[in-house]
Amino acid sequence: MILDATVITQTLAAATPVLLVATGAVFGERVGVINIGLEGLMVFGALTAVVVSVATGSPFLALLAAAGAGVLGAAVFAAFAIWLKRDQVIVGTTINFLAFGLTGVWYRAYLNGFGAGKTATELPDLIGQGAGGVDALTLLAFALVPAAHYLLFRTRLGLTIRATGEVPEAASAAGTQVNRLRALVTLFVGGLCGLGGAALSIGIANSFTEGITGGRGFVALAVVVFGRWNPVGAMGAALLFAAADVLQFTLQARNVWAGLPYPVFLAVPYVLTLVALAVRGAKGKSPAALGTAFEQG
């Protein structure tokens, strides 16, 4: 039997980091900001969570710190992409370089110094235990989806965000400080990226390695498009993606298709996303002002 409780909780856990980031990115792109640097912001959060968890023994303080680290990284993005109006794709790429480099330097300095030999306190499971367990971040990630949906489609703030990403001039005329709103949303997305990183480092892996994010930040970007810039859609896409991952684990674990080289399995989620994008197409659906700078009149 392929589908059982563990497969389900595993899928939920695997979807958590991507979902947290993608939920944020839905808001980011809805307000008109495309951030390729999500992956880097996740790495920031992942390392910060481990360091703080080791230092304080409190995984919840660690979560807070991870979110803070994500916000800080996003502030650099906002400064260059929104305040200085530089190209968002290029600033995002730069954020990735910066994050990989800085966390690398920090991590090594940390391990050579006070961090060696200590272990982080893992985020406890709230429901169940071990492989069948669900931790606070997973609950948060999935609880955020209806909240995000409500915020985006049933509040005035959400309305303003959607208008800003479509016709920033209209939002501006309605009294929105477009660039300030974009910056705030960018910081919020950064916070969620930090949590997404923490979901990996103290949620699942309970430690940090360089490259721990394994491209999940980029996957989140695809998930947003696939989910049609909608939190519920993004959740569906994130679950699909996670399910493909877990299916891949399960197939390998149960010797199904044995003999197929494992890189084939590993490529499945990416190919799947590409095929999905190709089939659904993305023409004309993205927020009209996505990636453009706004000059306040």
Binding site: D4, T6, V7, Q10, A13, A14, P17, I34, D87, Q88, V89, Y107, R108, L111, N112, A116, E122, Q129, G130, A131, L200, I204, A205, N206, S207, F208, T209, E210, G211, I212, G214, D245, V246, F249, T250, Q252, A253, R254, N255, P261, Y262, P263, L266, L290, G291, T292, A293
Partner: protein, 375 residues
């Protein structure tokens, strides 16, 4: 994304492109200066003898005077040791860290100094990094992985006074010493332990990248398990990424969900994810790789198969320091105590005595060559 990129302006461009081509030209002439003797092949054969490329027979081993030259004159007195590892010597608690510890051990015993290690260089960078280490006067350089064999074989002839040691290497030369860990014996024993301890009859091996050393270790593990319990089912899986702990954890969880109850990892960093998946799950067991990993999932850690890299490094290092390096490959197996299986010393309640006795007997048989192992 309609963002104006930097736009061309003709006048400035003309001015600047002239400048640039000036620079380009000087680069070109600079490199031309190096060309004068244009040879099809480096002065020495960079071919490792055992990867016969098509057309390899055409290759001439050209004993040019270059290869015999010592360069540069080495500083006398200071014995420097270099190290190249595929992973971080800090965070990878097994493979790369062991190499680091090994060099530290040589340093402690011989009074040498250690150059900070070069970690995870890309394929195109290995040779350059290696040459730099040699030029900087490192007389002994450890390359910790079979993937460095070709680079060492290419560089070694240019530095006859430097000794290159390649873990798992295949090429032998006067100053090129492969260390061959015969880990098969130890993983065979590990397989026996797993095959005995399993209640469900399903055990598993989790690897990251499917490289030969890992693959053979799993094959011998399987053979060991089958030796004690022919019906046991051994699952071998790979996650593809030795950095992605989360993936290894989830992969292991998938195995456990399917009834596997003993997992041997050989996935470097990502092995931590395997331990975490097992920790807290009753009646399942973890087995470490390469080093004593009894600090991972301690309560459910049966033991680890161990490559005693530090001792092997020390043996070679001492010989080289004493000027006795002979370029013969160093074999490191059960007989030399360079590999062995070690039970988890912090936790002894589970392993029955009969199993320990059986292992002692098996070890004797393996050393005596009575057990066919994959190499």
């Amino acid at each position: 994304m309609m963002i104006p990129l930097i736009t061309p302006r003709w006048t400035r461009r003309e001015l600047l492109s002239r400048l640039m081509y000036g620079i380009a030209f000087s680069t070109l002439t600079g490199s031309l200066m190096m060309v004068t003797g244009c040879q099809q092949e480096p002065a020495v054969s960079t071919e490792s003898p055992d990867s016969p490329a098509p057309g390899a027979s055409v290759e001439t081993v050209n004993a040019s005077p270059l290869s015999a030259r010592a360069f540069p004159p080495k500083p006398e007195g200071v014995f420097k040791i270099g190290l190249i590892t595929p992973g971080s010597t800090q965070s990878d608690t097994a493979w790369s860290k062991q190499a680091y510890d090994g060099v530290q051990k040589v340093v402690a015993e011989t009074g040498a100094t250690m150059t900070p290690p070069i970690e995870s260089p890309a394929a195109a960078e290995v040779e350059g990094a290696l040459r730099n280490l040699a030029q900087d006067g490192n007389q002994l350089i450890f390359l910790h992985g079979s993937e460095y064999d070709a680079a060492a074989a290419a560089v070694a002839p240019s530095f006859p006074n430097t000794t290159f040691v390649v873990t798992g290497g295949r090429t032998e030369a006067p100053n090129l010493t492969p260390i061959r860990f015969e880990a098969g014996g130890a993983t065979f024993l590990a397989g026996m332990v797993a095959g005995t301890m399993t209640k469900t009859g399903k055990i598993a091996c989790v690897g990251a990248s499917e490289i030969p050393i890992v693959k053979t270790s799993f094959e011998n593990f399987t053979a060991g398990a089958k030796a004690v319990s022919p019906k046991v089912e051994v699952r071998v899986v790979f996650t593809g990424d030795e950095k992605d702990i989360a993936k290894a954890k989830q992969q292991t969880e998938a195995l456990l969900a399917d009834g596997v109850d003993v997992v041997q990892h050989n996935a470097n960093d990502a092995g931590r994810g395997v331990a975490q998946a097992i920790e807290g799950k009753p009646k399942t067991y973890f087995m470490g790789a390469n080093a004593d990993q009894s600090d991972l999932a301690t309560g459910q850690n049966l033991g680890s198969f161990i490559l005693d890299v530090p001792n092997a490094f020390l043996a070679v290092g001492k010989r080289v320091a004493a000027g006795e390096g002979d370029g013969k490959s160093v074999s490191a197996g059960l007989a030399e105590r360079a590999v062995y299986f070690q039970f988890n010393p912090r936790f002894a309640g589970v392993v029955p005595k009969f199993l320990k006795d059986k292992l002692v007997a098996a070890e004797r048989d393996i050393i005596a060559g009575k057990v066919p192992l994959k190499k």
